[in-house]
Symmetry: D2
């Protein structure tokens, strides 16, 4: 079968792969819709995960089940499903012990697609533990919406969870690419009052306002920390969500959050040896500014929760889809669109 | 009256000061026991708080009330009291809004003694809001115990609070000076199983074992991160408390804690522009390793809680007192003892 | 001055009262808008608080400051302010010790208006600790919106806080009077997916749908527990908010919540010796179904947070105002309207 | 093989059973030590779980593995293991969704032994999912200690977890049978200051003092609520753990806890339709007195955590063993000893 793969660092291409094997708890899925992610760009062009050869890319998909293992109980061939980007091993002692499932066998081990195993950019892909890692696509959900759930929606909303927002809080969201937009939506869905969205691209800024931002902070207008302080009478934001940016963004986040506030990071930091916490901004270690960061939860229940938000009209992630391709062969184009992100690109998808 | 003060960065000495003024909610206290703190050393010899002239030093005291303002209800002259190092303004909108009281008017503003106002190293000192910031010294509590509560006990135990320890957890405590020793005791009092205490001085290590450490990790035996990983079958500690060390200790803490674990810092970081979070050790921002750090809570209820631990024999902080001086005039000697910490010094005190 | 008071259990009337005295931290406020509350009905006609004689009623108001004590810093005569129903004493050892401020000197002691002291249904009323217990009414906020904040909004949203809702959760809200409606809005603002609103009056049901309910559960259609179980494939709701009903509603709430779920009560239970937890529904004490209940937080920061929700268009509580009177003299009528609640009454207000 | 079983409500006896079957993830274990539990008494003599016929009793055991299924990775025949009373199905969507594992397929479904399937009082017993539900018995742990972990230790400590204790808190523990004693120990291990243990039997009271109680409250000396209020200057306890008693104990617990405090129940309520929350004691629903109750966590990691407490000398549960029998045939005697609990019985065990 055909698969769109990372050939090596810096190079992608179409290759032929064996149809994947399946264990008794697993499923094989044929994609109905796929989306490239900035992570794919990091993986291929920055080698952020290290070298990979002929690894199928992609971890954002919804599809149709083609086959299930004999122990699978809740799904059958023909079912339309949402496939989370994160598909953990759920039966581990670490989970029992309080480790988030996405790290159930070590840090980030729940992130399998396009990292530990072949991703979803193929005619067919494998899902481990189908009963635990697939969710039925509800009737009435569009494919545009469905393909935003596996990563963009759940990751952005996890930022809001980590930031620990309370009613009426003033929240700064750094980065308004698709994850940042969903972080804005997540902050609104946790009951934030003001949401200061930090970004510069107009299309993103407009959509941030639609999703609940109340002000846009543009770095072109000066230091973003200073802008946030000015906007909060010098107190700082109650919470900050980091959804993009280089290592230095952590410094800015700490500087702009108030004592007792918290920072939730869902950004994948791809470069640098260290992420610098500012000593004085962190009050020499004594300011009660919590710093949390984590990979999104994955698995079935999480996808069902995300789907419930869409079906109950709490959130329409489909608005982020700015470009739609038809046909598997356009994956390359879609990926390159994420690579050379022009001003009007938020999220391209490929329908099949 | 006589006071032992920071004359300027690098210099201390005895000076004459006016007897302090008192507002209607305040009290004047005469010390019964005093202790110098490593923070005093930072303040004077590293200029960590910036320049200060003729500022009375000291924030660890128990004493006898000499006078109270007319609105003070629960205390009267003659009462023997424990004086917390942190004496916040309690009636602020920030506290209402969830900001810890020690930052009630801005970061660290609850830390007044020997920082914002004259400290306790004098014949008499002033306490703001006595009803909210003093606690009666229980009958039967020794002065040695009493003077450990204002800072050492409450700060060390706060490290355990921030680290969010659960029953049977494996906890690493970095630093086993007096705060670290109380962090060890705090970890035990939260139900830790193994406690890996990181330090090298024998007297401290012995006392750490007394307070609940189960193993000593000595940097002289190699990289402490590696030692902790080896001791935990490569999984890392569930929680880490930072109770001492330079900026790089944050890197070590992140590296040695497991995914989903948490770090509680009560160390006063005195040097460096940034505290480096290791990008890979923090799983590129996605490892769910929480980083928290904060000044100890202060005030009356906190001191009463700490006293309850001592009086109910949960903890004997008096064991940390290695050197006892008699007479105010020995404060200088006691301070220098903290400055040139020899191997057998844990905590000197001055009885009056 | 004139005041509308509870003369004794079962009787209300207009009386003449002395203009209230004011301490140095206090303020006197002239109402701009007032609203009667179901609690006033409980107080007068059920004697729920016990006997009261000539106690001015009312605890929902926004107004204009007439005078402030000499220690008041942030407010001045002429300021338009929102007055929280709950005005705690903020400087107490209990708050230091973790007791919610609304119980700062004992259970419910933060609830002063029309309970411990004269309420707001008068030409002028007294506010204790103005800097801590008043909030500026933002420009652009309507009086209809402003008068919903002191109790209805903050109480309903507190129900959502107590119920501990997570993204996509299925939440049942029992009772859709004004507090229940705000509980529905609060559940939506915490990111609930489905919201099952339990009530029967059409006008309330319609407004519940506007505020975010996805289904109405009507007791006229059968047992509400069974209806919730049917709607959730037998699993039960993730969270339940109790916002109305007699003692037996606690039984229903426990029966309809899933193991590991939580119940947040903001209902004032006015009758009965006990509130019955069903032994089997609570899994013989072992089902991890948390039961929480509490008076709303009060004070300034809370009102500012609630105002931020309105001004940032997260919530429009003004939609609940079904009847508007003009002139203080109509308070009696408005109160009786709450007493003999006809089908179209949600919330009457009185403009001044 | 021989098994000691509940023949029907009110009757026990020895029966012959088939050797249990084993799935690929399971294990068969031969007991080394067994203990009867008060729950067994409820099950047999009060029919608390309903009728059961020829159901093997017992859920407290440590033993030696005889056989493991082919998918078991971490255990092998001959291993000495601690067997938790609660052995959940770990691979369920409910756990993903935040439901405690002990309710992974419905309330209390993690409690299988002597409830849903045959218990451990037999020559051989079956353990589902061995890798997830067994823990190695550490070298140096006595059998007396080991057999206390599966239920008594973990349940008592869970009471302390549910009660949410902070440093220096005043905690009341109602009931000082073996679970209550471990709740006392748990409260101490969470850093409680005063621990008021409510009970009357001298041997239990003495052991409660050993485990950390600071005072004994004896109902023979008057109303226990009043005694707790008197002991706390009318404020009430910060936390209450319920570890025994009839339905009315919930009323007492609510009455004796302070506003903002919390109650953790680990008592199995066996009788009555309802558990009465006192309306006034609960401040009419508004006192922020949290009521939590739950079955202990089970599984491997939990047992490893409990074992870590014993091996690191935080806790010696072996002190509770008051009577030791040798030989399987004495199970009947041991059970009857729990049934007709004389004043000197805390916990009998049977060595094999």
């Amino acid at each position: 079968m055909r698969a769109f793969a990372m050939l090596k660092i810096g190079a992608t291409g179409w290759i032929e792969k064996e149809k994947p094997q399946m264990g008794p708890y697993d499923a094989l899925v044929e994609p109905l819709v796929l989306a490239p992610c900035t992570s794919d760009i990091h993986t291929v062009y920055e080698g952020a995960l290290g070298e990979r050869n002929n690894l199928t890319l992609g971890h954002e998909a919804a599809g149709k089940i083609v086959a299930v293992g004999k122990e699978v109980k809740d799904f059958k061939p023909g079912d339309r499903v949402i496939v989370p980007a994160i598909t953990p091993d759920w039966r581990t002692v670490q989970i029992q012990d309080g480790v988030p499932a996405c790290h159930s066998e070590g840090a980030l081990t729940g992130w399998k697609f396009s990292n530990i195993k072949d991703g979803v950019f193929a005619e067919l892909f494998h899902v481990n533990d189908a009963d635990m890692n697939l969710a039925l696509m509800p009737d009435g959900m569009s494919l545009e919406q469905a393909v935003m759930l596996p990563d963009m929606v759940t990751t952005g909303l996890h930022g809001a969870e980590l930031a620990d927002i309370s009613f009426g809080a003033t929240v700064a969201v750094i980065g308004i690419g698709p994850v940042g937009l969903m972080a804005v939506a997540g902050a609104k869905l946790r009951g934030a009052g003001r949401i200061l969205a930090v970004g510069s691209r107009k299309r993103c800024a407009d959509l941030a306002m639609t999703y609940g931002a109340t002000e846009i902070i543009n770095y072109k207008n000066g230091d973003i920390v200073q802008q946030v302080m000015d906007a909060t009478r010098g107190l700082g934001a109650d919470n900050v969500i980091i959804a993009g940016g280089p290592a230095s963004v952590l410094t800015q986040a700490v500087d702009m959050v108030r004592p007792g506030g918290s920072i939730g990071n869902v950004n994948y930091f791809g470069e640098g040896d260290v992420l610098p916490v500012p000593r004085l901004g962190w009050a020499c270690g004594m300011g009660h500014k919590s710093i949390k960061g984590g990979l999104t939860p994955g698995g079935r229940a999480r996808m069902e929760r995300m789907a419930a938000l869409v079906m109950n009209k709490r959130l329409d992630p489909g608005l982020m889809v700015t470009h739609t391709f038809k046909g598997l062969e356009h994956l390359s184009e879609a990926l390159e669109m994420m690579h050379h992100k022009s001003a009007d690109v938020i999220k391209p998808i490929v329908l099949l």
